[in-house]
Symmetry: C2
Subunit: 341 residues, 2 copies
């Protein structure tokens, strides 16, 4: 089985964007904000938006199941306040859950959190619990920079995050560390901010000792870990200089990397540098890069090709495409097992 641990609902029906537009307009004093219950999208619309897009390409690429979370760039936690994010997260999480209900064999939902800049992360716990316990979310996306590119939040090792980690570990869901739209003109959202966030999060973890306090917490760093595998020697050397253990010992029991790296040499590096147990197959399809590579004739984000051509031993390939995801996402594993898979 091929499990893609990193998909977003980038193709949601237009009514979702309209709802958000009205919410943003209300923040500017134009009308009342819509309620989550005002969002009306029919099952047929959801089916169509998935079948023509993610599902079609999953079939073409042989991807069996995708962990499916709200569109990352739309989370935009910097917009409005906690109430804004709370209503918006509810809408987006509900929709991903409905995709999982309509295509139970193909999509497992993951949730966004109603984060807001400067607001205590503990405020996200009710939506986290609702998403996991009521909607069946198998993972949660955590934004290390809810300010949208201004990086005003403390590092992920700060104790202000701890109440959230306590609930996350209690629920036994992994965290994908994923920023959203850049509100800073210096940072292109998918070309700089996403990759920078991955590197930044890893270095925060390297500096700290978060997993001493949360030994079962599991963080997935997307986009192949930003620059981390490419600069693995630098991180090892910095760990040494900072008096931290080797990153392999210090972090790799709890930190995992996805394969959203869109060319063969990058995937080869990722798989050479990191142990197979720490890499999870993913494509982020349909996401930041949707085009066809003119050099290969295949989609840039068709990462299965790269992973399968990386020369992995069969057992390692199976771990990366399925086994690691079942281990890191136990609620996904339970969902699959309940269906006899």
């Amino acid at each position: 089985m091929i499990i893609d641990c990193h998909g977003h609902y980038t193709t949601a029906p237009a009514a979702l964007g309209d709802w958000r537009d009205r919410q943003v307009q209300a923040l500017a004093g134009d009308g009342e904000p819509p309620r989550p219950a005002d969002l009306r999208i029919g099952d047929d619309e959801i089916r169509a938006s998935i079948e023509a897009n993610q599902l079609r390409q999953m079939d073409e690429r042989g991807i069996d199941v995708t962990v499916f979370s709200p569109r990352a760039s739309f989370m935009a936690h910097h917009v409005g306040d906690f109430a804004t994010s709370a209503a918006w997260a509810r809408c987006c999480n509900d929709l991903c859950a409905r995709v999982g209900e309509l295509f139970p064999d193909r999509f497992a939902p993951a949730a966004m959190l109603p984060q807001s800049p400067g607001v205590d992360p503990a405020t996200c716990i009710p939506e986290l619990v609702r998403a996991v316990e009521e909607l069946g979310a198998v993972a949660v996306n955590l934004n290390p920079d809810p300010s949208g590119g201004h990086w005003s939040a403390p590092p992920l090792t700060d104790r202000s995050w701890y109440p959230l980690y306590e609930k996350i570990t209690e629920l036994d869901v992994p965290v994908m560390v994923h920023v959203s739209t850049s509100d800073n003109p210096a940072f292109h959202t998918t070309g700089a901010h996403y990759l920078n966030a991955d590197t930044t999060a890893f270095m925060q973890l390297l500096q700290g000792d978060l997993f001493a306090d949360f030994p079962t917490l599991r963080l997935v760093i997307p986009h192949g870990g930003g620059s981390v595998p490419y600069h693995w020697g630098r991180f090892r050397g910095l760990a040494q200089a900072l008096g931290r253990p080797e990153p392999a010992q210090h972090l790799l029991g709890n930190v995992f990397f996805d394969t959203c790296v869109y060319h063969q040499p990058g995937i080869d590096l990722l798989l050479k540098v990191l142990p197979p147990a720490n890499v999870l197959f993913a494509s982020e399809m349909i996401g930041a890069v949707r085009g066809v590579d003119p050099d290969t004739g295949h989609h840039f984000d068709d990462t299965r090709r790269y992973v399968e051509q990386a020369g992995l031993a069969p057992a390692n390939l199976a771990a990366i495409t399925e086994g690691n995801a079942r281990r890191v996402y136990p609620r996904l594993d339970a969902r699959l097992r309940a269906a006899g898979r």
Copy 2:
């Protein structure tokens, strides 16, 4: 000849730090700020600080010449105002020039600019001209984020930078795009901020069309380009989505990458992905990572080992260790030729 295009004076005599401390204290209302002329460091002190450190390791590693600029993390453009940075840049640039005078065969000076957050980059032109024309600087370091990790400056393609580029191209010196200390607790300076800046700068250039306006401007992105070579497929795909030309056509006539990547797989990737004409040998020794890799018994930052073990054809290796630097840094080439080298 082996030319290292990326060295910093990280081992300057303590008097430099003392001078800076007094300058910072004066900003806090404690005393008068020192003048550049108040900095007194003898030639013997400079010699000792170099011979025991950079020069010793250059000899051990077979590096002939280093392009030597002020300590990057000490630039700290976010401290004080333009006058603060102007006095500080003068001190630091003078010292690097003196290293170049004391060891003319081994060090060629490069300059920092007196940038200050929110201040017109054109204010840096007098120090730039002084450094190049009077001190013999062969390159200049430009900080894309003088705020120190808050990223309040416009992208490098913004027209506010243009007067500086006009003078830089007139002087025919390359720019190394290099941030300084992070004043933001989210970003570790050398483990996140430096790498993020490299990625950010490249993506800014990809989005824009700077080299249409400055066809002879040459930018060196340090630290192996941050995450750029590792995510080269992503950047190609984003360029396609943004309607930009292939990065190889759009940027590689003007953008170069150094080899400050501290493990063999990273260097192998860099040299596989980027054309040999776009890679310049560098180590940033003595810099962020000073330790010995327990796995190899060699310094992490002994990048010559990695580059020489990457399986390059001899002509490409020679380009990376010498020829490209002579081409990209014509004032370095002139300096070497004047000495019959």
